[in-house]
Symmetry: C2
Subunit: 306 residues, 2 copies
């Protein structure tokens, strides 16, 4: 804990010592300062093959897919987006402090060719996911938490499994009691991390821009936040794979690499906030309170990327 | 972990045994089932002297105040509401995954008589808060977490202090770099629990009904979610103390007592969800994922309460 108040004695002492001391100890940098001092190598451009644009009347929501964790579902979602399956569907459900869900309310629309239910992808063998920036702060739900492929993740070394975790803005696949699913119904987390869903659903990605287009939608009036017949519908104009969108129309986003040294410094800047306003240091940070920064870069810069 | 699939051998065996077995082991009850079986003594009516109604055009937000944790600020807020101080002010700030804040943008409106800055109430001595239903699941931020006065709380026995924690729907007092504040500017949490604010702000209560009126507001376009001049304002029609409102106009709410045996069963029903849909048991629960149930009772029943 630090205080902004100084006693008269300390002030007098600092006046006396001022000529002897070169400078006060540097204040730890804030996240904004750290990001302002980042280098290009700290950032990873989004892969258009793993990026979805969910287009609403109010704006675009950008989703980064996580094929390393859910290859079967991501392949389905890519095929569905490519075939225009989602275009003209609607938001089905907005449950406060929980999720926004979208898909085909009637379940009558034909899926894209080759898309059918695939096996559950609730977790994956650790072997395929060696990159893991461990967060040493502990976790209520999982033996280990951290970041893998720039997504929040957990792992249990005893059973050799890893999985993505349900932080705010994560995107998962709706399913019924069957553990298999197609990926044609998706949801995004818009509340306190519902970590009890971990390992019960295939998480397939994360919203990296525009989640406020979803989180600020009117809540549904029916059970579980389903929209009632009397509520205005929220149409989905389209969900497109960025690779299917003309380069000039793409959102040029980069994600901070969570295996960078800079990211470790970002974590510390959020674990113990250096801003003057804070009086008590938290000393710890929850995996879902660690921001994974995203930045927009000018199209010219994006096009010159390798 | 449990599976809904049965092997043919198990099905055959259960057919053979069916006449011998009275019933399958009872499934653990869901939260809905537990609440449906509650008794009147499990619930605590709100005290009109500790209840605020924040009235928006879209509906009423009900806030339960926590005078046991922040007596000075709660006294101020009561005086401000009683004097009509908040009436006609507006929502200042809606920052996604963080807070909604309201108050006097210009800071020019006169406070109520006797209301001035009071000392920080970031935590309190444990002695005054003997009632504490401890959650044994652990916590990333605090040595102990649980529930006190039917609010989510933490404590550190080593230093003998306790404090309310920043779960979704908690209400706190905005302040500047000074640790003292008046209570004339308030905020509510509308995102993943910003626990780094714990012990940095006076939390003064919790929204027990209508938080979706705040969480679904358009996000502000300026830094920190402040509304820009071009955005529509969201006026606060009034903030009134329930005690100042005619009984027929009050919201008749009851909160589940967190020192009841039923509440422990509610926690377990959320820690390991009994619903068929869930395949993997979480085994643990975060303090901010434990619901503190609220119910609305018919006015007649409310008026006959002692």
């Amino acid at each position: 804990m630090h205080s902004s108040a100084k006693s008269p004695i300390l002030i007098a002492l600092s006046l006396v010592l001022a000529p002897l001391v070169q400078a006060a100890p540097a204040q730890a940098p804030t996240m904004s300062q750290l990001l302002a001092g980042s280098s290009a190598a700290d950032w990873r451009p989004l892969d258009p093959e793993n990026t979805l644009y969910l287009e609403l009347a109010s704006g675009r929501v950008v989703i980064e897919l996580a094929p390393a964790f859910a290859p079967l579902h991501v392949a389905n979602i890519r095929a569905l987006a490519h075939a225009g399956y989602f275009n003209g569907l609607a938001i089905l459900r907005v449950q406060d402090d929980y999720v926004v869900q979208w898909g085909d309310a009637d379940g009558t629309r034909a899926l894209a060719d080759g898309v059918e239910k695939v096996a559950a992808e609730f977790d994956a063998p650790i072997g395929a996911h060696d990159a893991f920036t461990r967060l040493p702060d502990g976790d209520v739900y999982a033996p280990l938490v951290g970041f893998s492929g720039d997504f929040p993740a957990a792992r249990d070394p005893k059973i050799g499994r890893t999985w993505l975790v349900h932080c705010y803005a994560m995107v998962g696949v709706g399913r019924d009691d069957d553990t298999r699913s197609t990926g044609a119904e998706l949801y995004a987390v818009i509340g306190h991390a519902p970590r009890h869903l971990d390992r019960n659903v295939a998480l397939v990605g994360r919203i990296v821009k525009g989640i406020d287009e979803l989180s600020s939608l009117p809540r549904g009036g029916e059970q579980m936040g389903f929209y009632s017949k009397t509520q205005a519908t929220v149409p989905i104009r389209a969900i497109e794979l960025a690779a299917d969108v003309a380069p000039a129309e793409r959102s040029n986003l980069e994600v901070l690499r969570t295996d960078s040294r800079l990211f470790l410094r970002v974590i510390e800047s959020r674990r113990n906030r250096p801003e003057e306003w804070f009086k008590a240091e938290a000393g710890h940070i929850d995996v879902c309170n660690v921001p994974i920064p995203v930045r927009e870069i000018p199209p010219a810069a994006a096009q010159s990327s390798p």
